[in-house]
């Protein structure tokens, strides 16, 4: 499929080369292809694969990147900030506790409008210590001012990694981007994917010209000043505006990428939603499992559907309202928690987005897969069952359901 759009710079679909690789290696491959000036990273399971693979590219002269092997994740992002303020194309990668350690400087990156790209291999947060997948780390940065893309598959992680560069560096955006894939499931699972030729990627991402650089000594700049009550608020407002503009840019870049590769992505991806009377909303790798569950239910005559969210920031509230507003009952599947909150993170976002638009289907919160608990199809069949039962009841808001948990 080749779409030609008015935004297209490339109208010819490029043939990819099939590979059997794990997601992390594939993302490292994409990092090599976008030719960053600087990569700074610190190993942490399950991201380590990326750091190791990239080290090999450097050791073999397959990239010209300056690879800074820092002594911590905080330092990795700190180095990225210096490199980006210097005008370089800059990337990092991390997981769970590494992201938590970066928290302070996540805001420094976005507040200074530095288009850094981070590859985030989602992992649970301690304690108890756990190296497996959930989205606690991702949700921890939801207010940090980063564009957040979430991949379902290794292919998507690769595709997002390339698009992330264009989104971040877009003059109307100039914000850092976190490109997320699920730890172990996507990072370590070997899948069939296609990689683009190096030249096609290079042409797609182009070269980055920073509007300001601290290296341009003929035009000195002060980056990261002290900013009080008199200007800070306006600067934050500008950040909000940039994130709003990113909505359009995420779609534009996806369209252009679709033209190039035949793989088209939106901010949301509906599955069998046309006539759905019961639906779920998910992020990340579990979407594939949900598709098979939806197919099973459809075979049983149940009009089930599913919506996958690919772009979490900026949050596609309008698109979700259009897709879910008319559905009888919707389940929102969280892989992270917000103890004591108005709801778990994704649930709060979705319900708020729908209510604001005056369309509030019955919604129910489900939590699954914390700390790597296997999300089995049976859990989601149960979820659809609960949703259908809810619908019969038409009752008051009901408590979250914890799927696959020993109560």
């Amino acid at each position: 499929m080749a779409l030609v759009t008015r935004h297209s710079r490339l109208v010819k679909e490029v043939r990819g080369t099939p590979v059997a690789l794990d997601g992390a290696t594939l993302v490292a491959y994409a990092m090599r292809q976008v030719r960053p000036d600087v990569v700074a990273a610190y190993p942490i399971t399950p991201q380590t694969v990326i750091t190791e693979a990239f080290s090999e590219f450097v050791a073999n002269g397959e990239v010209e990147t300056e690879f800074i092997q820092t002594e911590s994740e905080h330092a990795a992002l700190s180095a990225c900030i210096g490199a980006s303020a210097a005008g370089g194309r800059v990337q990092t990668a991390t997981s769970g506790p590494g992201l938590a350690l970066m928290w302070e400087v996540m805001y420094v990156a976005s507040g200074n409008r530095l288009p850094i790209v981070m590859h985030l291999c989602a992992r649970a947060l301690s304690a108890p210590l756990n190296i497996l997948c959930d989205h606690s780390d991702v949700m921890g940065i939801r207010d940090a001012g980063w564009v957040i893309l979430l991949a379902e598959t290794a292919q998507e992680a690769y595709d997002n990694a390339i698009q992330a560069v264009r989104i971040a560096e877009h003059p109307e955006v100039m914000l850092p981007v976190a490109s997320v894939m699920d730890g172990f499931i996507t990072t370590h699972g070997v899948e069939r994917s296609e990689v683009l030729p190096d030249e096609a990627v290079a042409e797609f991402v182009g070269t980055y010209r920073a509007p300001y650089s601290i290296l341009d000594v003929a035009h000195p700049v002060t980056v990261g000043p002290l900013d009080f009550h008199d200007f800070y608020f306006e600067h934050k407002r500008q950040q909000i505006e940039a994130m709003e503009r990113a909505r359009e840019v995420v779609c534009q870049v996806a369209e252009e990428y679709g033209t190039l590769t035949g793989r088209c992505y939106g901010a949301v991806e509906p599955y069998r939603m046309e006539d759905a009377e019961v639906a779920t909303l998910v992020i990340g790798s579990v979407a594939g499992t949900l598709r098979t569950v939806v197919d099973d239910l459809r075979r049983q005559g149940i009009r089930a559907g599913m919506v996958k969210l690919r772009c979490f920031r900026p949050f596609p509230g309008r698109e979700l309202a259009a897709l879910l507003g008319g559905v009888g009952v919707v389940g929102i599947l969280d892989r992270s928690i917000s103890p004591g909150g108005a709801g778990h993170p994704l649930f709060t976002e979705v319900s708020s987005a729908l209510c604001q638009r005056g369309c509030a289907p019955r919604m129910r919160s489900f939590v699954y897969g914390l700390g790597g608990r296997t999300p089995a199809p049976a859990q989601f069949r149960q979820a659809y069952g609960d949703l259908l039962a809810d619908r019969q009841l038409g009752a008051e808001a009901s408590a979250p359901v914890y799927l696959g948990l020993r109560e």
């Binding site: 000036d37 300056e66 820092t70 330092a75 700190s78 180095a79 210096g82 990261g224 000043p225």
Partner: protein
């Protein structure tokens, strides 16, 4: 490259007047000494602290040279990132090679305490930059709290003089020694009153082929409790009492740069500042003794090292 005062007066200023540092503060003096000694464009990273907040108040900046402030602990890493980007961008032809120096200005809090790991990592990686520690022996920006550079018996707002405590209860870190143990090309201790010595050291640091570290005593009249006009006198007393010896470690060779003709007792230093006023009371005599002993011991040790 000799430091000639007459020539320095005609150089452009890297730090403009009108900043918000306290009158009498030594930090602006140190910064100007560094920028003048280098005599070429600098790319500067600042750690959070007095200097940064007093010179970068949006929409103004006191800097005529490029600066980046990231956070409190990570200025060394930030400049390392900028240096790496420079290398990469020159290599791929995106920018022309430029005769620039990468410089960090960070307080003792940023250096001795919260940022030690970031600094250590950057030194190990070997980025080419000069790290200048503005050592005013405390967290001054946040209102005079103790740091790892604060000496035994010192009053600060977190080591107050109370019924049980006579100010800070522990000695200070040997930060210059810690950095020297990283075996980087150039490490030195300096003080602003000895401007020629300091500026020569800046030039040595600037021509080093890897990272360099300058631990500069930076008297703070506000936090040390002395009159603004005495900044240079206080700086000098620290050196004459051997509390702050001037020395350097050039490619592993230790060298004493100044030997007081007549080493002064530490009491002269203690008397010069209000933060030590309580130490002059008879009940705190033992603490003064201990300070003198420690200073003497460190001075002996340093002299030995410089003879080896």
């Amino acid at each position: 490259m000799a430091v000639i005062l007459r020539e320095l007066t005609t150089q452009p200023e890297g730090l403009a007047p009108g900043h918000g540092l306290c009158p009498g503060c030594s930090e602006s003096v140190v910064v100007r000494q560094v920028l003048h000694a280098l005599g070429k464009p600098a790319v500067v990273a600042l750690a959070t602290g007095c200097l940064e907040v007093s010179t970068t108040r949006f929409p103004y900046t006191s800097w005529q040279t490029s600066v980046v402030h990231n956070a409190f602990e990570n200025a060394a890493t930030t400049i390392g990132g900028a240096e790496a980007a420079y290398t990469a961008m020159v290599r791929r032809g995106a920018i022309q090679p430029r005769d620039v120096v990468f410089v960090v200005f960070a307080g003792d809090g940023a250096t001795y305490d919260i940022g030690l790991q970031w600094l250590s990592g950057a030194l190990e990686r070997g980025h080419r930059f000069i790290y200048v520690c503005l050592n005013n022996e405390g967290y001054m920006n946040t209102g005079i709290q103790r740091s790892g550079a604060t000496m035994l018996g010192t009053w600060t707002t977190t080591t107050p003089v109370g019924k049980l405590a006579p100010g800070k209860l522990t000695w200070r870190k040997d930060m210059t020694g810690i950095i020297a143990s990283h075996h980087i090309p150039y490490v030195a201790q300096a003080a602003p009153h000895a401007w020629k010595d300091f500026m020569t050291k800046v030039q040595r640091a600037g021509s080093a082929e890897g990272p360099s570290f300058l631990n500069v005593l930076a008297p703070c009249n506000r936090g040390w409790r002395y009159e603004a006009r005495n900044t240079m006198r206080v700086s000098q007393l620290a050196v004459e009492t051997c509390l702050w010896p001037l020395y350097e470690v050039d490619h592993g060779t230790w060298k004493l740069d100044y030997r007081p003709r007549n080493k002064r007792p530490v009491t002269e230093w203690l008397q010069s500042q209000g933060r030590f006023a309580h130490l002059l009371r008879p009940e705190n005599h033992a603490i003064v003794e201990e300070i003198q002993q420690r200073v003497d011991g460190e001075w002996e040790h340093l002299q030995q090292r410089c003879q080896e």
